[in-house]
């Protein structure tokens, strides 16, 4: 799974968010390293919706602007959990090897 996809799903894990909310949340989650642009975000959202990993939760109009909120689907939650576990296992393995080699982390 691509990092941006992982971060978008993570941003939605705690609850539904609208587009701009996802952008700011992803930036925060990645410590400012990943800054999604609108084109990239909506390409990813379109693909995730097609894959049924996220769905539209609700729509609101704020200051005459449309806000559409997205949420994780059960399938999206499962995939995110599996990916997080995989990354955790990989990270643990890497840290373990580094410890064995006497390296510092």
């Amino acid at each position: 799974m691509q990092e941006a996809t992982f971060l978008i799903l993570t941003a939605l894990a705690a609850g539904s968010q609208h587009g701009y909310g996802i952008i700011t949340d992803v930036q925060e989650l990645s410590g400012g390293r990943v800054r999604l642009r609108a084109g990239t975000l909506y390409t990813a959202l379109d693909r995730l919706r097609a894959d049924e990993l996220i769905a539209v939760d609700r729509e609101e109009v704020v200051d005459s602007r449309l806000r559409r909120y997205y949420r994780l689907t059960p399938r999206g939650s499962q995939l995110l959990a599996a990916e997080a576990a995989r990354l955790q296992a990989n990270a643990a393995a890497a840290l373990s090897r580094l410890d064995l080699a006497g390296g510092t982390v």
């Binding site: 691509q2 701009y20 990943v34 999604l36 609108a38 990239t40 097609a50 894959d51 559409r68």
Partner: protein, 356 residues
């Protein structure tokens, strides 16, 4: 105009690059996100932001085009096109063969074939006396008949038999005498390759037969005449076959070829034929068109036999030549079959990497 209105207008112009269906649903939402992310006083989209939107828009167009080609209820036009092609392609080959027999071309007396071999015409009833031609045409008629009757398996078997016959005929009987296969055999190979894939992946030739109407014939008939005239040109400009055409001569027949090809294309567009059906037809014609494009028609040679791209692509076929001739129809045929057996739900990419 205020700064925000100017910025919004420029964003809208960029968003116009997205597919219409996407814009209908997401444009206002995306615009809100873009405006929310803009700096105070910003009048124009940034360079990176513009590049990102254009890349995303073009990618989205590609993705939507691919989605529309997936089989299933969402792409009825695609499955219709396959069913239609599975009937039309075999019929088209028969039309070409009938034209070949019914409309002979009288050779000028000074042509090499007339002088050396005593042949006085190309095509005509004498074709039926050419060894193996009658069997090849019979097989094509059988394939078309099975397709019209809606017998999918038998059509497929007859197609395979026809292709095997061609390969055996060419490799065993002709190779060594003339290593150049008839250009029409390339057309048949493309038609049967894609036709077999269409038979496997479509609702079947019976459905295709019901979809056929006069508009298809209006396109196929000028296309068949184009094949006839351009095949004659291929013969006429081949250094080992014969030289010299009756009036209007090589240039005149070249113009006629272009006119009939253009007529077929214009009619196909004007009559709004299923665009996926046209894609299949284009792939079917590809090997034939390539052979024509690289022949002496467009590269008059000195008459000295020179293998390679300067002459017919299949004169001395190497893997590269075969790739040039057949990769597009082979890829399309594989794709047709793969999309048919692919599960409806697309899989999620599971590769490391950074997207932003």
């Amino acid at each position: 105009m205020s700064e925000s209105a100017a910025l919004e207008g420029r964003y809208r112009r960029l968003l116009a690059w997205y597919p219409r269906s996407f814009r209908r649903e997401q444009e206002d939402e995306m615009l809100a996100v873009l405006i929310a992310g803009a700096r105070p006083g910003q009048r124009r989209p940034g360079l990176l932001e513009t590049a990102d939107l254009l890349r995303s828009a073009l990618g989205m167009r590609l993705v939507m085009a691919m989605r529309s080609l997936r089989p299933g209820p969402r792409s009825q036009r695609w499955t219709d096109a396959l069913a239609l092609f599975s009937v039309v392609a075999p019929l088209f080959l028969v039309i070409v063969a009938v034209l070949e027999v019914a409309v002979p071309y009288r050779l000028p007396p000074e042509s090499r074939l007339s002088v050396v071999l005593g042949w006085h015409e190309i095509g005509g009833l004498s074709l039926l006396r050419v060894p193996f031609f009658d069997v090849a045409v019979c097989l094509q008629v059988v394939v078309a008949a099975f397709a019209l009757l809606g017998w999918r398996r038998l059509t497929l078997i007859a197609m395979v038999a026809s292709v095997l016959y061609w390969i055996v005929y060419w490799r065993v009987f002709v190779y060594g005498i003339s290593s150049v296969p008839d250009a029409l055999q390339l057309l048949a190979a493309g038609a049967y390759l894609l036709g077999a894939a269409a038979l496997l992946a479509s609702p079947g030739p019976r459905h295709g037969r019901h979809l056929m109407n006069w508009r298809h014939w209006a396109v196929l008939l000028p296309a068949a005449v184009f094949v006839q005239v351009s095949t004659l040109l291929l013969y006429a400009t081949s250094p080992i076959m014969f030289r010299g055409l009756r009036s209007p001569g090589t240039s005149g027949y070249l113009v006629l070829s272009v006119v009939f090809a253009a007529a077929a294309v214009v009619l196909a567009v004007a009559l709004k034929l299923n665009r996926y059906f046209l894609l299949l037809l284009a792939a079917m014609f590809y090997p034939y068109a390539m052979q024509l494009a690289f022949s002496g028609v467009f590269r008059p040679s000195s008459g000295v036999f020179r293998p390679g791209f300067g002459t017919d692509l299949l004169r001395l076929p190497t893997p590269a030549h075969l790739a040039v001739l057949f990769v597009p129809p082979v890829l399309l045929a594989c794709w047709v079959v793969l999309t048919a057996i692919r599960p409806g739900r697309p899989r999620v990419m599971m590769s490391p990497g950074r997207e932003a």
